[in-house]
């Protein structure tokens, strides 16, 4: 080990420890502390100058009260459950919307595909916030959609979509669509076309060939896409706070409000720790899936 | 390699006064517990074309990488010109390596690839250009100087890699299966080209190959390796004619191996009894072998003659039935089964047209060979 190598490893390592790992430990620690009307608004504050004794009293003052509080208050339960529900439902809707697009792209001829690909990626480079915002003008009571529908005489009172969970679903599906389309397209694109021909040769109709061959073979892409939508949707903050209403409960929004509005840092930290625990299972499943894919490709 | 008789024989390994360029002194290399190179000692002399031959995984690449400086010996010393290489990093070694994958820099042109090493040497700027041109001429790529590696053919790429490693005129050039990716015809052309270049530049070549024919064609000496050990180091003709073990005899070319017991019959002459009802094999050997020693008798198929009648003038003759004939164009191989079930291969040059050939399946024939045609091997 020479000096250069140590420097090369230590620089990014130290950076991540200082700005990723340590902050987490702090969150965890504060989640075990108490709310206090002071600055910072929690106690105990660890006092290094008090030495080992100070550390012991510090430890003895930590407890799981915040977690007890979270499990006692059904606001949090509901927020977690409704986050899971909203993330799951929007993932399914995204899948249903994305699959035909990915399928159509894979069937398009070679000249078109790079352009189609670019059209799917382009929204990803534009601001997320703006893409969410663009739906406010469409979904609100005097919005574009209601005006069209009213103008056409389809409805006579404006639909109240804005500030409901429906608007949140629309927002998630819209913003995360590329994450679903791309992995599915990738698996469909490299599929061997003669498989479909073989299936048809063996007596399948086009539709049953799709169900029996295409769909099962695109499963890895579907799974990857679902995780790529579900995981970030679970902790989403911007969409529920712009498109959702006061009754839309999502855990990211709850955390934000605990922190910025109630200034209850210990509870906000406890909410964060539980959100993380919720995320660990899908993240591990996702990693497994990716690992399997990599091995299958080798 | 037939050499004109007038030329002085190049054999510094027989000259006790000659100083080797490269010395491996009991070099061992372990990867964890696995022993990749096992106590290897070799001397390689300046201007040699030294070939490493051996089955896959026997440690040829590892040996080279230690010379180039990418691996460190676990034990032992490697000397270049008498100096220990242990603490010399790869970039300070007077060796250059031609990689099996060529490792041409894809972002640089052919010209820049060849100049790459020169720019990092003490060579004055003004001399780099002419040197690159000279190298390009040598490998006949002058027209392709501005191309990128992906714009030339596989054979041309291989020659760029060669030119690049030659450009710095290293004391030692390491070639790791340089011709592995080429088709047979191109490979043979390049082999001669390599020998030509070696003669012109006087560089010492160490070449790794899987292809024994290649080793025989190009090398001044061949080292046969197995499981990290050196089994035999010798000139190609001696490796072929006088293998020191069954392993080497079997590894290089086709061979019949017969197990038996030797008993001395005279000055350097032995009789090998090897099967009930078969005559003893008369063979010669310089080694002293005690009576009753178990030995292997190895004989190349092309040293065995095949005839309808028993030849009178040959020391050994056995009778058998033709089991199989393999027609290979210039030669045919006959598999002959003897009365005791032993299978002997004999090779005959096809100097006549097919229709005129005399032997066919199931014919009874005589196989014969002289007493110096084969060798007696102890292991």
């Amino acid at each position: 080990m020479n000096f250069r190598r140590i420097l090369l490893i230590a620089t990014p390592y130290a950076w991540l420890v200082a700005l990723f790992l340590v902050p987490f430990l702090i969150v965890f620690k504060i989640s075990l502390s108490h709310y206090a009307i002071s600055i910072p608004p929690y106690s105990p504050v660890f006092d290094i100058s008090a030495g080992w004794e100070g550390f012991k009293t510090f430890l003895s003052k930590l407890d799981f009260d915040n977690y007890r509080f979270l499990s006692g208050d059904d606001l949090y339960w509901k927020a977690y459950l409704s986050s899971l529900q909203i993330a799951a439902i929007s993932t399914i809707i995204t899948l249903v919307v994305a699959y035909p697009i990915a399928y159509g792209m894979a069937q398009a001829n070679d000249e078109w595909r790079p352009t189609l690909m670019m059209l799917v990626i382009l929204p990803f480079w534009t601001s997320f916030l703006i893409r969410v915002y663009s739906w406010i003008g469409i979904l609100s009571n005097e919005g574009f959609l209601n005006q069209i529908l009213l103008g056409l005489g389809v409805i006579d009172t404006p639909l109240a979509i804005m500030n409901t969970n429906t608007a949140v679903y629309i927002g998630i599906v819209y913003t995360y669509l590329p994450f679903m389309v791309l992995p599915i397209y990738a698996t469909l694109e490299k599929m061997d076309g003669s498989l479909i021909e073989a299936a048809e040769d063996l007596g399948c109709t086009r539709i049953s060939a799709f169900w029996l061959v295409t769909l099962p073979l695109s499963k890895p892409g579907v799974i990857a896409g679902c995780f790529l939508v579900f995981i970030p949707a679970l902790g989403e903050f911007v969409i529920p706070s712009l498109l959702g209403g006061s009754q839309t409960l999502m855990i990211g929004k709850v955390l934000w409000e605990e922190f910025f509005s109630n200034r209850d840092w210990p509870v906000a930290s406890a909410v964060a720790v539980i959100l993380l625990v919720l995320l660990i299972i899908p993240i591990i499943l996702f990693q497994r899936n990716e690992q399997k894919q990599r091995e299958a490709n080798q | 390699m037939a050499q004109p008789a007038s030329r002085p024989v190049f054999a510094p390994w027989n000259d006790p006064a000659a100083k080797p360029l490269i010395q491996f002194k009991s070099v061992t290399k372990k990867f964890g517990e696995f022993v990749a190179i096992d106590d290897v000692t070799i001397d390689i002399f300046a201007q040699e074309f030294f070939a490493l031959l051996g089955p896959s995984g026997c440690g040829k690449t590892t040996l080279m990488r230690m010379l180039a400086g990418f691996e460190r010996p676990t034990k032992g010393q490697i000397l270049l010109d008498g100096k220990d290489l242990a603490d010399v990093p790869p970039n300070r070694r007077e060796t250059n390596m031609m990689f099996q994958s060529y490792a041409l820099f894809p972002h640089l042109s052919v010209w820049e690839n060849i100049a790459f090493g020169l720019k990092r040497s003490p060579m004055p700027k003004g001399e780099i250009g002419p040197r690159v041109e000279q190298m390009l001429k040598l490998v006949r790529l002058d027209k392709f100087a501005r191309r990128k590696p992906h714009q030339i053919s596989g054979g041309q790429r291989q020659r760029v890699a060669l030119a690049r490693s030659l450009a710095k005129a290293p004391k030692l050039l390491l070639l790791d299966e340089p011709l592995g990716a080429l088709d047979k015809k191109l490979r043979q052309d390049t082999q001669f080209e390599l020998m030509d270049i070696q003669e012109k530049t006087g560089t010492t070549f160490l070449i790794v190959t899987h292809d024994q024919e290649e080793a025989m064609t190009v090398a001044s000496r061949v080292a046969v390796m197995d499981h990290g050990k050196m089994i035999q180091i010798d000139t190609p003709d001696r490796i072929y004619e006088m293998p020191n073990s069954v392993y080497v005899a079997d590894f290089i070319g086709d061979v019949n191996i017969i197990k038996g017991n030797a008993k001395p019959t005279g000055e350097g002459r032995f009789a090998i009894s090897w099967a009930e009802g078969q005559p003893d094999i008369a063979a010669a050997s310089g080694a002293g072998i005690a009576a009753g020693t178990p030995v292997h008798f190895a004989i190349r198929p092309e040293k065995i003659a095949i005839s309808a009648d028993k030849p009178a003038d040959r020391a050994n003759a056995v009778k058998g039935r033709i089991e199989d004939i393999a027609y290979l164009g210039n030669i045919s191989t006959y598999k002959v089964e003897l009365a005791n079930g032993a299978m002997i291969k004999a090779q005959v040059a096809n100097d006549r047209r097919l229709a005129r050939r005399t032997f066919s399946w199931d014919d009874m024939v005589w196989l014969s060979f002289t007493d110096t045609a084969g060798v007696i091997l102890m292991k």
Binding site: W125, G193, W265 | N91, N96
Partner: protein
Amino acid sequence: MNRRFSWFNATSLTLGFAFLYLPMLILITYSFNESKLVTVWAGFSTKWYGELIHNEAFLDAAVVTLKVAVMSSTFATLLGTMAAYVLIRGGRFYGRTLFSGMIYAPLVMPDVITGLSLLLLFISIGLDRGIGTIVLAHTTFSMCYVSVVVSSRLATFDQSLEEAALDLGCTPFDAFRSVTLPIIAPAVISGWLLAFTLSLDDLVIASFAAGPSATTLPMKIFSSVRLGVSPEINALSTIMISIVTVGVITASLISKRSIVKQRAEEQKAVRN
């Protein structure tokens, strides 16, 4: 995939892309609306662009955002490339698993958690919040994206190229500079662009890390659109969308042209 482009495919593509692009087209259209009432069309006008340009607060926020994006993406590219090199070429070292875990975890971490944890860190070490802390925060999560992009390039990179460079007399650093870097440069550049975009785009982490003294453009946009649609924001969005569109199209044309050029050269090479 056999290409049998049917009416079904055409319809699904049309509807799909309409869904992706109509909201933005509507937004762009309304940015040229004369009326303050966003939903009523009152004639073409560019007056909102005029007002936007004279809105000091937005301009300041834009400057802050650009500063943060340039700095954080540059640091992130440096650190991320180092991290990728360590992951792929670093061999074994103590705590390697933790290291690769810390590279991948931020990619799936919800912004609220990342933001909260960084804020708590800044407060507990008494760091004054402002542009500096946003840069620190953005560098941290962007470097992970950069490192994923660069390491996937490095993983397919033949190590014997580096060995060849050493063999020809390069020092390890020289080998990295003159062989490795030029070859992975496209990945490093895309990593930088990705980090830049992520930084421009980020609302949540910046809100936690910023404190009262610095406001980024997304924060400004967020606080104005919470109250509903505003024509100035429409104008701003239009400008941002146009910049990105022009950028992406140019980039793809350039890469397409270089592919075409490369093919032509290859063909020329074959013919000779």
